[in-house]
């Protein structure tokens, strides 16, 4: 019975008695502000709305879900997912080389580059997004730039298309792709690349055979971090979509704020959650036994 062992036992005891008080804040937040709201959404999604008083009456109607099967909604669903996935893919395409380049820079330069990637995140999302309206419009700076580089000619005609929505998504979410990729790539030992080159692998194949497979956790994390908020994005499609490239987020938002149709909005949200869970399961499979993403 030395002093330290009794202190250790005391610590152990203290640790155990503290366990539930420490768990409480997280569990309370999760239960009251996450679990209950989600459960309520599920409940709402089977309910009906009174069109004059906007009161929800609970019931077990599937009409809100069957409405989703109408072609316009189905195509909106598909488009949301396509835009989200495509945005994530483009983010990956340009984010990977960027993250790789930064991860292979040294010291101060690397820190500055990382900071440069992060700072835009600290600038109002709305204002940044709105700036693209002026940048992308016909006769705007981007068109002039492309013409100057002889990449395109004539009018740009991209504003208020799914394309401009994707530009907004990609630029706004790129840091969310670059950062996890950077973390993953920095963990890839450069000597593995040397080893591959040494074993006869040309540079491009070193990337695909060694670097890319080893950064899969970062790739998956990046895709998840970009695709999910992109699918639920409200501001970007609202501003850059010209009000006609509605995505999940917009339609759900509108059901609650404009048409007052909570049950239908809730049904959309529930379907969204279902898609999400599917995507996360797929992501899990993609990572396999590798370490945790987040």
């Amino acid at each position: 019975m030395t002093d330290s062992s009794s202190a250790g036992a005391a610590r152990q005891r203290a640790g155990r008695t503290l366990r539930w008080p420490l768990a409480a804040p997280t569990l309370i937040v999760w239960a009251t502000l996450f679990a209950v709201p989600v459960a309520l959404l599920i409940l709402f999604s089977f309910g009906r709305i009174d069109p004059s008083t906007y009161k929800v009456s609970f019931g077990w109607t599937f009409s809100n879900y069957s409405k989703l099967l109408e072609p316009v909604y189905a195509s909106m669903l598909v488009r949301s997912l396509l835009i989200a996935v495509a945005s994530a893919f483009i983010c990956l395409l340009v984010g990977f080389p960027t993250a790789y380049f930064i991860s292979r820079c040294q010291g101060r330069l690397q820190q500055l580059l990382l900071l440069a990637v992060i700072i835009p995140f600290w600038v109002s999302f709305i204002v940044r997004t709105y700036a693209w309206v002026s940048l992308l419009r016909n006769g705007g700076p981007v068109e002039a730039l492309l013409r100057g580089l002889h990449i395109g000619s004539g009018a740009l005609d991209i504003l208020y298309t799914p394309g401009s929505v994707m530009v907004g998504m990609v630029v706004n979410y790129l840091p969310l792709m670059i950062l996890p990729l950077f973390v993953a790539l920095e963990r890839v030992d450069p000597s593995l690349e040397f080893a591959a080159a040494d074993l006869g692998t040309p540079p491009r194949r070193v990337l695909t055979r060694v670097v890319l497979p080893l950064s899969v956790p970062g790739v998956v994390a990046g895709v998840v971090l970009v695709a999910i908020p992109a699918a639920g994005e409200y501001v970007v499609p609202a501003i850059l979509g010209g009000g006609k490239t509605s995505m999940f987020g917009n339609v759900i938002f509108d059901q609650f704020t404009k048409t007052g149709n909570y049950p239908f909005g809730a049904a959309l949200a529930v379907v969204f959650i279902a898609f999400l869970m599917l995507a996360l399961v797929l992501a899990r499979v993609a990572i396999g036994s590798r370490e945790d993403v987040v």
Binding site: D198, L199, P203
Partner: protein, 371 residues
């Protein structure tokens, strides 16, 4: 014609980084099938040299030839050279089998042939049937052997090994040294082995190159390097670390007569080209010094400052008027700390090397001991 016998030929290779000279005027020929070691303290340029051989770095000037073919500008993936990396650099996302087959796949080797060669080489490194394992499931020594197998399976003209045993514990290291030597004899490939551990280099290599501050100071067999070090640095680095500053009285070929303070006149062999009348360093090898009672026929008298028992040998540090001497004895005669003793050695224990500049002598000996 001579070139084909020569696996590697470096001529006046220089590599500078900004204002730092990593490798200076390095010329070296390594024969086919040789087990060649490059040793030196960290930062001496040996790893840079290895990287230039592997193609991961290129010389600022000079030429590198492998079997007569110029390698400068040839990217690593097109060189007939493979490397065993210090940290093994095994691909964690691949199994042992896939790791070993990595280069074969790059060469579009037929599937069955690939499996056969992978099996064969794993046999050679004593890891039969471990194809399906992941690298992280293996011990350090096993990982090291996978790295060796991965490089050897490509039958390179030259195999580079960059401190491959550095991460292993002493016992494992000794047994791996044996295995490495055995494998090298079996495959007959030229090994270029980089290490800072001179004992390791001595036990395995046919020849050794010693580098210091970017300069290749000596290339010779282990015995020659040990017995006839070309410089005070080499003498220090390989463990013949006592030196006495002497004045050269006369020169006859490589035979010198020198005057040492306290000791008097000594006739000894030494490095060619030390001028008469100059100051030089007389190296005295520790195992050839004997401890005697002070006064009776001793060359020097001093006080024992430290004793360490190493089983078969006992090492002493004896403080004398000419500095502290390291002495290795067979343990027959024991002396205790702070006792006054005499030390003596035969003339054949001495070897004369040029006097190192004050600065470099201090620095290098420090580096050597820390390495």
């Amino acid at each position: 014609m001579n070139d084909s016998k020569c696996a590697i030929s470096l001529r006046e290779v220089n590599r500078t980084f900004d204002d730092f000279v990593a490798v200076r005027d390095l010329s070296l020929n390594i024969a086919d099938g040789e087990f060649f070691s490059l040793i030196g303290p960290s930062g001496c340029g040996k790893t840079t040299t290895l990287r230039m051989l592997a193609g991961l770095d290129s010389p600022t000037s000079g030429s590198i030839e492998v079997h007569g073919k110029d390698m400068v500008g040839v990217p690593p993936y097109r060189r007939p050279i493979n490397t065993v990396f210090q940290n093994y650099a095994l691909f964690p996302h691949l199994t042992v089998g896939e790791n070993v087959a990595f280069g074969l796949r790059e060469r579009k080797t037929e599937r069955r042939e690939m499996a056969r060669r992978v099996g064969e080489i794993l046999e050679l490194v004593h890891l039969p049937g471990k194809e399906k394992r992941r690298p992280r499931e293996l011990s350090g020594g096993q990982q090291q052997r996978v790295a060796l197998a991965r490089a050897l399976v490509l039958k390179p003209e030259v195999l580079l090994l960059d401190e491959p045993l550095g991460a292993l514990d002493l016992k494992l290291r000794r047994s791996m040294q044996g295995l490495m030597k055995e494998i090298q004899r079996e495959v007959g490939i030229t090994f270029v082995y980089v290490t800072h551990d001179q004992e390791e280099a001595f036990s395995m290599s046919s020849r050794i190159g010693i580098m210091n501050r970017g300069i290749l100071e000596q290339v010779d067999t282990p015995q020659a390097v040990y017995r006839r070090p070309a410089s005070a640095f080499v003498a220090d680095f390989v463990g013949a670390s006592n030196h006495v500053t002497v004045e050269v009285l006369s020169v006859a070929g490589t035979r010198y007569r020198v005057a040492a303070p306290t000791i008097g006149t000594v006739d000894c062999d030494g490095v060619d080209g030390i001028a008469s009348g100059s100051t030089a360093a007389m190296v005295v090898r520790p195992e050839l010094i004997s401890i005697v009672d002070s006064g009776t026929g001793a060359s020097l008298s001093g006080t024992i400052r430290d004793v360490s028992y190493n089983g078969p040998t006992v090492d002493y540090l004896v403080e004398t008027g000419l500095g502290t001497f390291a002495i290795k004895t067979d343990g027959q005669r024991l002396a205790s700390i702070d006792s006054s003793v005499g030390i003596t050695w035969p003339a054949s224990a001495c070897w004369l090397v040029p006097m190192p500049s004050e600065l470099s002598a201090n620095e290098t000996s420090e580096e050597a001991t820390s390495a």
